[in-house]
Amino acid sequence: MTYLIDRRLQGKNKSAVNRERFLRRYKAQIKDAVGRAIKGRSITDVENGEKVSIPVKDVNEPRFGHAHGGVWETVNPGNTEYQKGDQINRPRGGGGGAGRGRAGNSEQTTEDDFIFELSREEFMNYFFEDLELPNMVKTQLTQVVEYKNQRAGYNISGTPSNIHVLRSLRGALGRRIAVGGPSRKQLTALEHQLRDLREQGAEDDDPLVIELKHKIHHLHTRLLAIPFIDPIDLRYSNRIKIPKPSTAAVMFCVMDVSGSMDESRKDTAKRFFILLYLFLKRVYERIDVVFIRHHTAAAEVDENEFFHSRESGGTVVSSALHLLNKVISERYSNGDWNSYVAQASDGDNWDNDSVLCKQLLTSAIMPKVQYYTYVEITDGPPQNLWEQYAEVAATHQNFAMQKIVTPADIYPVFRELFKKQPK
């Protein structure tokens, strides 16, 4: 008795539970790995799944076993040169030389990290978890909320306002030709006959002629009875909603790279930029990212340089704002662009420069940008830049500022931003 069973349609994700158990157990390590991964990848690339590697000793399941030592005698195949009693040197390391038959017992074999892939959702979950976003915001970030109407060919049903005249008439014409075809053929044939009769000298009262005329008249009536336009000819423009954000945005990352911004601060700043980027990406179809870094002078740089080069010296924030203003007016001034600015700094600035910053913001920049976020990564007391910015925040709805110490503090900066986009 034999059974042949097709199991292919049965669930294939039997291991999902076990996989989830694994992730659950190694949550801490995976979070570390996700953190490392974020450091290592570009802001615009943060959304993909990630290979995560955790040290193999952590995932190891210990078992009793032999270590190398004592006496091992092994039998191997493929002898080419040895005779009984030959002495040979021990092979070095884990290389596969002759006489090494202890695979699996030797502890010298180097072990790689345990590497596996996280899906995009899982990766983002770990990322957000770190930032302590409330769930509500997570759904907003992971959901596409805006739809765009787009043409998608023609349809045979729809509302009258969507009737496509050209298409409908073209259809009607086709139908008229098709339906009238046989009658028209007959008509031409009859007309030929009539002409022939006449040429042969037939009179109007000839019974044949009368019959032909009668038939011709009948066919004319029939052709005329074909409707000019019929409900089945109607074509409607078809429009579908496609879930695509509609316009373009530009995101400015402005960061102080003076000597006092160390690696960990830059890392925190990076997370801040990533979060803004992710949010914008949900809402906008196209996003340009502009990186501006500054110390006493500002420069537009690429991402790599932005995060990884070190500068020293003092800080003049207004230099960056000047550059920002210039870039906006030169490249992003037409109405298609929504500008967002994310600025990160440790709060240091030349004393008399902060006032200048405030003036620049209120007079030039704030009217042009959608939203301006400022984070001060410091645990010290506020300095003059903070005070001046606070005045800006008081007068502008779309200015958010926050002092943060750890990445977990980043979220409140965005709270306002999310509130302002009700959907």
């Binding site: 539970v17 078992r63 009793f64 006496v71 191997n76 002898n79 892939e117």
Partner: protein, 508 residues
């Protein structure tokens, strides 16, 4: 003979399989297998996808299994290397159950499906049914039911006691899984009906036994005759999980049941670990023989055979020790060569064979092979049947690695003087008792701190690996009190010891 198109039973020359064609191929294979006298469980062939194959890998081929993170880890590894193309999936997985379940992957061609049917559904299947180890240790009728029972029971425990508590316990049990086996005792058969019915009873009974052992208020008459405490256990116990299940003082009934489940599963897989060479050799030999027979009858054609032979030769390739691909002896290669060689000795013995194998030279090969399959495990099979001819063909040589000498010594090669020595060494290499450290329960201090002492009896002065201390922590978690691991040399002298202390009465 090439495929005979006039033969009504001939399989079409195509690589796409259909259900009808699989039925047809299976029918032919079954007929030929019967002709050779293969006795099998009924077959259940299941077509599955690659994803399902990965799932099956994860649960060691069992159709159901309980949930544990280590299976998830296994799955992630498989998935990763499969998706990157580093590794192909096995063509088949076969389960020692009644009916015998064999998985066929949908990606396989018709030829491969036929190969898999011959290999798994007739080769492995008849081995499961015939070999004495499987007959003794496993119960093919009950295993699937038992796995269902285990899965449900563990899921219930997770609900009741929390995933973490169950996971911790299973971690500890897994660490000792290789020591949850009775090596010498015959096991009692497991039956799902009895399992469920007697489980409650067993729980109560065991708890009462434990209480008896650990009772702190001695009875009066015992107090009177205050003699030296009896040694406990009276004899060393090799089955650590069994010992823990029965005697660990602090385990709760459900925890004992979990220990028992892992122990039973370990026991079920024990024969497979002991018969790798034989099992694969037997299955490979039969798929080769059966398909050759079909070719002779004209049922399959040249194209079929070429595809089959290409796959077959890949499977039985043995890289030499000097090759960068060498990773030990390929059980398929050795097993297939030995099975084929036994057939040769029966049918066409040389003088050398007559001298070495007087019993089987010239005998009926089907009977001889059947006998060999039924009554041996890898170790004894090699010791019994490895012929000088094969030792020469494999160019086997033995290397002695003694950490007391600076160099490795070639102790024997494939020559007249070395045949027996090489054969014995190779057989020892497959002795599980030598491959795994010999660790047994030695003593429990019943009167004082309840410490458990394990003894590792050294084999060839081999030390324990560095994980030993980690494993010991797991033992301590199960035992609930201090655990000591002594390493003794064969004369019984304690060479070294490891210890894992636990806080008194610390529960987890």
């Amino acid at each position: 003979m090439p495929r005979d198109p006039n033969n009504p039973r001939a399989l079409p020359e195509q690589s796409e399989w259909t259900f009808d064609l699989i039925e047809q191929a299976h029918e032919e294979i079954r007929r030929v297998a019967r002709k050779f006298g293969l006795d099998t469980y009924p077959n259940q062939l299941e077509i599955i996808t690659a994803e399902q194959m990965m799932d099956a890998y994860t649960s060691v081929g069992m159709p159901v299994s309980y949930n544990h993170w280590s299976f998830g880890k296994h799955f992630l590894t498989t998935e990763k290397s499969y998706k990157r193309g580093q590794m192909g999936l096995a063509y088949e997985i076969v389960i020692n159950s009644n009916p015998c379940i064999a998985y066929l992957m949908e990606e396989n061609s018709l030829t491969m499906q036929a190969l898999v049917i011959a290999h798994a559904a007739y080769g492995h299947n008849s081995f499961f049914k015939g070999n004495y180890l499987f007959r003794t240790w496993t119960d093919a009728d009950a295993i699937v039911d038992y796995m269902v029972f285990a899965k449900n029971y563990i899921a219930e425990c997770e609900q009741r006691h929390g995933i973490d508590a169950v996971e911790e316990l299973l971690d500890s049990c897994h660490a000792l899984q290789n020591y949850g086996v009775d090596r010498y005792k015959r096991p009692a058969k497991l039956s799902v009906a009895q399992e469920a019915a007697r489980q409650k009873e067993r729980e109560e009974y065991m708890q009462s036994q434990v209480n008896e052992l650990w009772r702190t208020l001695p009875r009066r008459e015992e107090q009177v005759r205050d003699q030296a405490p009896a040694r406990f256990p009276p004899e060393p116990e090799e089955n650590l999980l069994y010992f823990i299940e029965k005697y660990a003082p602090l385990l709760e009934p459900w925890q004992r049941e979990l220990v028992r489940i892992t122990r039973k599963i370990s026991q079920y897989f024990y024969p497979q670990r002991q018969t790798q060479v034989m099992n694969e050799g037997w299955a490979t030999f039969w798929h080769y023989t059966i398909l050759q027979e079909l070719y002779k009858e004209g049922i399959v054609g040249d194209g079929f055979m070429l595809e089959f032979l290409q796959s077959h030769t890949n499977v039985v390739y043995q890289p030499p020790a000097t090759s960068p691909y060498y990773s030990g002896i390929n059980p398929y290669a050795l097993g297939f060569a030995m099975m084929t060689d036994i057939k040769r000795i029966c049918e066409d013995p040389t003088d050398e064979d007559r001298a070495w194998f007087p019993d089987i030279a010239g005998s009926d090969w089907i009977k001889t092979l059947d006998f060999a399959m039924r009554n041996f495990k890898d170790e004894s099979f090699i010791a019994q049947y490895l012929s000088p001819k094969l030792i020469r063909e494999f160019h086997f040589f033995a290397v002695l690695d003694d950490d007391r000498s600076d160099k490795l010594t070639i102790s024997a090669i494939h020559d007249e003087a070395g045949y027996r020595y090489v054969r014995q060494q190779l057989a020892d290499q497959y002795n599980l008792g030598n491959r795994e450290p010999n660790i047994q329960v030695w003593q429990v201090n019943t009167r004082d701190d309840r410490a458990l002492t394990l003894r590792h009896t050294q084999f060839q002065r081999r030390p324990l690996n560095q994980q030993a201390h980690e494993v010991l922590k797991h033992v301590a978690r199960l035992w609930g009190f201090d655990v000591r691991l002594e390493t003794v040399d064969p004369s019984g002298r304690v060479v070294s010891s490891l210890e894992c202390r636990r806080e008194k009465r610390a529960r987890y």
